[in-house]
Amino acid sequence: MKTRNWKGGSLGLMAALSCYIVLGSATPAAAMHIAEGFLPVEWAGFWWAVSLPFFVLGLRSLIRITNRHPELKLLLALSGAFTFVLSALKIPSVTGSCSHPTGTGLGAILFGPSVMTVLGGLVLLFQAVLLAHGGLTTLGANLFSMAIAGPFVAYFTYQLLLKTGRQRLAIFAAAALADLLTYVVTSFQLALAFPAASGGIMASFLKFAGIFALTQVPLAITEGLLTVLVWNWLQSYGQPELETLKLLRQES
């Protein structure tokens, strides 16, 4: 049953991919989280199992921070709210479709990546339950891409680029990369679950990346810029909190 469409399918796939990359074609794409029920049971379970330990770690870190520095709660709320806003904004992209940023970079830079696992998880849960966007069965996978992989990339990119001394650039790059990588990971997750009949995981990955990651490029830039904007505000008005965060980093 599958073998019949092998050649035609893969040819079509390659053609579609070329179209995407060469023309930035005007095909509608939904560059968003993996929809409810659209991961096979074993993969859905696998990603749940991978994500849960991170979530528990994040919860512990969150509790530790709020116990030690209750005055940081407002800044935590700000980080959560930033993801909340950004993941609600579906922005048009050069591929002729819409997608939304993730907003996890800011919190990861401020509080460390594992805190964002919890805050991002809340956003994903809200969208899965109330907005029929994403899903509960795929929450583990979406949690991994948006609230684990993204924040960790943001955190390490920031730490790495901070050494160059250009802080704003480090923030911009961290937020933008986290955004982009979230959707690269999503593509990879789908490719693992649905390898192409010919070409396997790689061909499948390219197809999904064409849908997800390409749309995300301008949005990643948008997210980087917005993160720098909020950072500028914090720099001007939130110095005491930024100092406390420095102390926090020295403690841990």
């Binding site: 509608p28 409810e36 659209f38 209750p70 909340f84 048009p92 029929a132 704003r168 499948s204 720099q235």
Partner: protein, 125 residues
């Protein structure tokens, strides 16, 4: 809200002092990035979860989603209401926090301006 025992003076960030004009530039760049595709790329711009799901059914023709949403917004209007609420809620919190911080730092600045500079050293109460 309990304050930390030691008062951290806002350090005047020397090289990192943010310029309000930069913020406007950032906002304009964000808007331009959103308008550019609309102006130059023709597309349907629907964010329906279609394409990735189509790709899945292409790759594995027999695949049936094995779960469905417990709750679905009754219509596009309700859905956009919920998305707008999400954004409004988040933006409200951001505005509140930044506004609070701004008011607080202005207060600190005023206090510093009225106090004689000699007493601004760290003095235990």
């Amino acid at each position: 809200m309990s304050k930390p025992p030691k008062v951290l003076m806002p350090t005047p960030a020397t090289s990192q002092q943010s310029n309000p004009q930069h913020n406007w530039l950032l906002a304009i760049a964000v808007i331009a990035l959103a308008i550019f595709p609309l102006a130059f790329v023709r597309g349907s711009y629907n964010g329906a979860d279609g394409q990735a799901q189509d790709a899945i059914t292409n790759l594995q023709p027999g695949y049936q989603p094995w779960a469905s949403h417990l709750f679905k917004p009754a219509s596009k209007e309700i859905e956009s209401l919920l998305f707008a609420s999400q954004a409004a809620l988040g933006a409200g919190v951001i505005g509140y926090v930044i506004g609070l911080y701004k008011g607080r730092s202005q207060q600190v600045n005023q206090q510093q301006a009225t106090q004689p500079p000699s007493s601004s050293d760290r003095s235990p109460k």
